[in-house]
């Protein structure tokens, strides 16, 4: 909406289908109640409008009726938000918003008059309250949180999340505006600065499986703390390694197997000969090196010769597979593995490639043998145990288990990127420090 494509790509990847935690707010005078997701990965407030007639989703949720509010102010500016799953459109209005016992006055929000997606039809929530920065707010609307601070309604410009991951307890969790609740964390928070305003984005280091490096983020990745996403999303190169380690289902990739069979030994040789790893795939002809990352041969052919057309995604897949293979092999060589062992391992990884933003099933009976997966943030290692990163769907004999990890590939300069959703925020109490522009994590209690 802002015209900056950098904003659009990541907002589009949001997935509210799996959102799990929501709370209640009021809009208008007297307050009309709505259940909303408190979402740190977006910045607008929207709820269904009473003028929403043609979307079935609106008939299953609470609707805002402006004529019933004495504090309503007309705005009328059109609004349109597209998410990865789901989209809404409508117009802006202004009214008082009640959050707990606070009343935020003259808050801009979107009255959604169209919710055509299945996402919002089946959703347990009515709308979304964004807690991200104004920089990514559609229509440049001032977020609710900004007005809370501006109107002096909170003691400190800080809010914090606690998610109750204990499945047996009814209490879902708590969001605290104005500070932190010491009952819901242990020890001290580790703080990292916000590196790119818009999202709550920060720098993240290596990802470890059972204490061993996965390599890809060792020299740094970015991460976004996102309460509106359920899973933990990260680069395919690492998620494939995680899938292999936890026995998660994957997509068997013939391109991947072909790269290993045809070029595996050559790649190992080139790594051992200290060739620049990022140039290996171009040197063997699977990618064209552009100085920062591999570019597939298909794209190069279009750039070089406008009369030729790209012939499909095969070479593209070979290029990205080759780049992943180099990372995996480098990592195995660092662990002093033999060539045969490396080729076998990488070939096994080819059976575990995740489908982008998809789910991977795991065996519910094997949790005890699965490794810890750890993320390095601010120089500190944050562990996740199997029972914390595996989600159970259904009960008893019908129960199924899915991995809390999903693949998301964002290229530089914005990526490689991780989205730390509820799976991570459930394990670690999270502080969003707006005043000092930093995010803090401590063990949840």
């Amino acid at each position: 909406n802002s015209g900056d494509p950098e904003d659009i790509d990541i907002v589009s990847l949001k997935n509210y289908m799996d959102a799990q935690y929501f709370g209640e707010i009021g809009i208008g005078t007297p307050p009309q109640k709505f259940t909303v997701i408190f979402d740190t990965g977006s910045s607008n407030l929207w709820v269904p409008s009473s003028k929403c007639y043609f979307s079935v989703a609106c008939y299953f949720h609470s609707k805002y009726k402006s004529t019933s509010s004495s504090t309503y102010k007309k705005n009328g500016k059109p609004a349109d938000i597209h998410y990865g799953t789901g989209a809404i459109s409508g117009h802006f209005s202004e009214d008082h918003v009640t959050v707990g016992d606070l009343v935020v006055e003259n808050q801009e929000f979107i009255e959604a008059t169209r919710e055509p997606s299945i996402t919002f039809l089946v959703a347990k929530f009515d709308g979304i309250l964004g807690l991200g920065f104004q920089e990514i707010s559609v229509g440049n609307a001032v977020p609710v949180w900004y007005n809370m601070v501006k109107q002096g309604l909170v003691k400190e410009p800080v809010f914090s999340f606690w998610f109750n991951r204990n499945a047996d307890e009814e209490e879902g969790g708590e969001i605290v505006f104005g500070g932190v609740d010491p009952n819901h964390y242990k020890g001290k928070h580790t703080y990292v600065p916000v590196t790119q305003k818009g999202y709550w984005q920060f720098d993240m280091g290596d990802v470890l499986i059972d204490g061993q490096t996965t390599g890809f983020c060792a020299s740094g990745c970015s991460a976004i703390a996102d309460s509106g996403t359920s899973l933990l999303a990260g680069p395919t190169t690492i998620i494939t390694e995680v899938n292999h380690a936890i026995g998660a289902t994957g997509v068997v990739s013939q391109e991947c197997k072909a790269v290993v069979a045809e070029y595996g030994e050559t790649i190992i040789k080139m790594i051992l000969e200290k060739d620049q790893p990022q140039k290996i795939c171009s040197q063997i002809g699977l990618c064209t090196f552009d100085g920062t990352q591999g570019v597939s041969m298909d794209i190069k052919s279009v750039v070089d010769d406008n009369t030729r057309k790209a012939s499909g995604g095969l070479h593209d897949a070979m290029c990205s597979t080759c780049e992943m293979t180099v990372v995996w092999m480098q990592n195995q060589l660092k662990q002093n593995q033999t060539q045969d062992r490396i080729l076998t391992y990488v070939n096994e990884l080819c059976d575990r490639l995740p489908s982008p933003m998809g789910e991977s099933a795991v065996d519910c009976g094997s949790l005890s043998s699965m490794p810890n997966v750890s993320l390095t943030i601010g120089g500190k290692v944050f562990d996740l145990r199997p029972e914390q990163y595996v989600l159970k769907v259904g009960e008893g004999d019908a129960a199924q288990c899915i991995s809390g990890f999903t693949a998301l590939d964002v290229p530089p300069p914005r990526g490689p990127l991780w989205i730390l959703g509820d799976v991570f925020m459930g394990r670690y109490h999270t502080v969003f420090d707006y005043g000092n522009q930093r995010v803090g994590f401590a063990e949840a209690a």
């Binding site: 799996d18 299945i118 109750n164 209490e171 969790g173 708590e174 505006f177 590939d409 290229p411």
Partner: protein, 45 residues
């Protein structure tokens, strides 16, 4: 409730359920074209 300048909002929790997974599958079919264009954008970017 407000307490010492803090405003606490209790959150409700929903478990993963089969309805949502079926819906997600339908949604991914509907959103297939959009995701393709996102991938193209990445390559340009």
């Amino acid at each position: 409730a407000s307490n010492g300048g803090l405003v606490r909002i209790g959150l409700k929790k929903r478990n993963f359920d089969q309805n949502n997974r079926v819906a997600a599958e339908l949604e991914s079919k509907e959103g297939g074209a959009r995701r393709t264009s996102i991938r193209k954008y990445y390559l340009r970017g």
